[in-house]
Symmetry: C2
Subunit: 139 residues, 2 copies
């Protein structure tokens, strides 16, 4: 059963179009609505929506950071070498400069977050099915 | 009649406590929940909630900017010398470095936005009742 299907219609902010620019760095389908992209503002703000099972590759923000504000559904955030963190609406994630990490939906839920990003991303290897499928929400 | 009363309980993110630190720069009661306040991140993120009629003073962000992501209710944003902009959920506001502006609720509605802020604020005069009370939503 798919959870939080209403999230695919957007939570407050629009879902936007299929995230084609970044598709090669994701497993599964994501959607991207730009919210702030201004040449004199040093952060980019976007609304990112993930179908169930969708996640981005491991990646690093160099000379910057990333802030996630979770607005809908259920997802995961993981930094390399640490346990994955289960995310629900209202959760906030801070990723520091240079930290290898990934984020995405749970297997059975749509997921949406606002991403506030500074710096230059370096995209790395995908999160394998073996890594991803073993993630379990703690009861 | 007061509109959007449910906003006072928070939209996705918590309302937080009475915004006592900034009370002297506001007319009416606001509430502030910090979301990101990290020494190595050059923006501060907070959830700001305004009771009906509440607005902040005219102010300027120096050596920075402010981004507002509207999550609940109805409000106003105005830059000096320009007409006020009526805000509803899903609206996004970008305030550039050095621009004098204010934001707040409409007379009859609760209002909530996420604020992403960089730089140093300079707080100026209040938005007078004369200025504020003449604002009307265009039909």
């Amino acid at each position: 059963m798919t959870k939080n299907e209403a999230v695919k219609n957007g939570v407050i902010f629009p879902v936007g179009a299929k995230n084609e620019a970044f598709q090669k760095y994701f497993i599964g389908q994501s959607y991207l609505q730009g919210l702030v992209n201004d040449p004199v503002v040093n952060v980019n703000v976007g609304n990112v929506t993930f179908e169930p099972g969708c996640r981005n590759n491991w990646h690093i923000h160099h000379d910057g950071f990333q802030l996630l504000l979770v607005t809908g559904g259920e997802g995961w955030y993981q930094e390399a070498g640490k346990p994955a963190r289960h995310l629900v609406p209202g959760d906030v994630v801070v990723t520091h400069d240079g930290v290898k990490h990934w984020h995405g939906a749970t297997k059975d839920s749509w997921f949406e977050h606002i991403a506030i990003t500074a710096g230059t991303p370096e995209w790395l290897e995908p999160v394998s099915d073996a890594e991803y499928n073993q993630l379990e929400v703690e009861k």
